[in-house]
C-alpha cells in the first residue's frame, strides 16, 4: 500500500511519518503530483497559518491536485481547515471540499490556542471504529470548524464544533491523531484500512 504525506510549507510531516512508522507503514513525503495521484491513501497534515499555506498550495498548483483526488484523503488540523470553504485566519479562501467556515475562538473567557486533550463525541464514521464516545484526543488550535452536515465528530470548547468531517473520499480531523497516544494511533489505523 502506498501512503503519501503531502509536503508543503505548513506541515508536521515528520510527526505523522513517525506515527505511521510505529504502526509499520513507510509513508512517502512528497509534493509531486503524480506520486500524490497514484497513492492509495493521502494524508494532508498541517501546523501553521492558513493564508500562507493556501498561497503556497496555489503557487505549487497542489490545490487542484488535492480537490481532484479520488482515494481516501485525511486532513489533519490545518490540513482539515484548508479543506473547508474559508477561514477567518488571514481571510482565506480555502479548498471548499467541506462546506464549513473556519472561525476564531473569540470568547473572552477562553484560552487561545486551545492546547491539550479534549474529548470527541457523536462519532459517526468508520474512522472511529473501536473508539469510545468521549475519548480524548490532542488538540492545538485557535480556529475551529462549525457544525454541519459533514460533521462526524464533535468537541466542546465553550461551544460545540466539528472535530472531524467527512464527505465522499475526504476526511478531516481537527485533533492530532499522530500525537494522541494509542487512541490516536487507532484512528490512523482505521484510516489506513478504509
Amino acid at each position: 500500500m502506498k501512503i503519501v504525506i503531502l509536503k508543503y510549507n505548513a506541515g508536521n510531516m515528520r510527526s505523522v511519518s513517525f506515527a505511521l512508522e510505529r504502526i509499520g507503514i513507510e509513508a512517502i513525503i512528497t509534493d509531486d503530483a503524480d506520486q500524490i495521484i497514484s497513492a492509495d491513501k493521502v494524508i494532508f497534515p498541517g501546523v501553521g497559518e492558513a493564508s500562507s499555506a493556501m498561497n503556497y498550495l496555489r503557487e505549487k498548483k497542489m490545490d487542484n491536485v488535492i480537490k481532484q483526488l479520488k482515494q481516501p484523503v485525511l486532513g489533519i488540523c490545518l490540513g482539515m481547515q484548508l479543506m473547508c470553504r474559508s477561514s477567518e485566519e488571514g481571510n482565506t479562501t480555502c479548498l471548499g471540499i467541506f462546506d464549513q467556515k473556519i472561525k476564531l475562538f473569540d470568547k473572552p473567557q477562553l484560552k487561545v490556542p486551545q492546547i491539550g486533550w479534549n474529548s470527541i463525541f457523536d462519532l459517526k464514521s468508520n474512522l472511529f471504529k473501536k473508539i469510545k464516545e468521549q475519548e480524548y484526543q490532542y488538540f492545538v488550535h485557535s480556529y475551529y470548524a462549525e457544525l454541519g452536515e459533514n460533521t462526524i465528530a464533535k468537541t466542546n470548547y465553550e461551544l460545540d464544533y466539528s472535530s472531524a468531517l467527512h464527505k465522499n473520499n475526504f476526511y478531516g480531523v481537527q485533533f492530532h491523531p499522530e500525537k494522541s497516544s494509542r487512541e490516536g494511533q487507532t484512528i490512523l489505523e482505521n484510516f489506513i484500512k478504509l
Binding site: V47, K111, G116, V140, S142, Y157, K179, S180
Partner: protein
Amino acid sequence: MLAKRIIPCLDIKDGRTVKGINFENIRDAGDPVELAIRYSQEGADELVFLDITATNEKRRTLAELVTKIAKQINIPFTVGGGINSIEDVTTLLNAGADKISVNSAAIKDPELIKKLADQFGSQCIVLAIDTKFENNDWWVYLNGGRIKTELLALEWAKQAVKLGAGEILLTSMNNDGTKRGFAIDITKQISEAVNVPVIASGGAGTMAHFMDIFIEGKADAALAASVFHFKEIEIKELKTYLKENSIEVRL
C-alpha cells in the same frame, strides 16, 4: 471538556536524565528515551525535555536525541534549554519536537518571541519563566536561576504573550525541589492575567498539591520531575485521584 494536563519533565545533561534540588546537586535519573516511553505509557499528557547544559556544540546531540524520542513516543513534547535563535528552533522542530521553550534568550531579546511566533506559530512557542519571591515580589531569573533580572514575573508573562508566546511554563524557584506544593499565588495571578495556558512547575510532593494548583492556582497543566522519576507518585494513580476530586483529566 478540555482536560488538565500532567507533564513529567526530564532534565537532560549529556544525553542523560538528571535531577537536582533547587537547581543544584544534580544526580543521574536514567535514559531519557526509556523514561519518555514509560511516562507516555503510564498516561502522561505531554513531556518536557530541558537540556540544562545546552551549548552550541551540544545542539546536534540534542537534535539526535529529539528525533529518537519523536520516533518512539506518541504524545506531544516540548524541548527547551539554551535555545537562542531561529536556527536552534528550526533544528529542534525539524528533529521532531512539537514545541520549544525559550527562557534567557527571550529575556535578553524579547523580539525573539515575536520572530519565533511569526515563523512557527504561537502554538509551538512556550515561554519558560524561572521566578523567585523576594522582597514581596516575584522576580524573573535567567541562566537557570543564576542571575536575577529587573523583571517581575507577572509583567514579563503579559509582555511575552503580547509578543506571541503560546504558553507559559512557570517555575517557582522557592518551591522547586521542596516537595511542599506549587506556588499557588503567582500561578493564579498569571493564569488569570493572560489568555494562554499556564503550566505550573516546582514543588510537587503529593497528589493534593496537584489538585491545589489546578483548583486554587488555576493552572492549565502541572509539571513535575522527581516525584515521577523516583515513582513517589504514579501518574495513573494521580489522575484517578484528580478525577475523583472532579478535575477533568484524561484517563
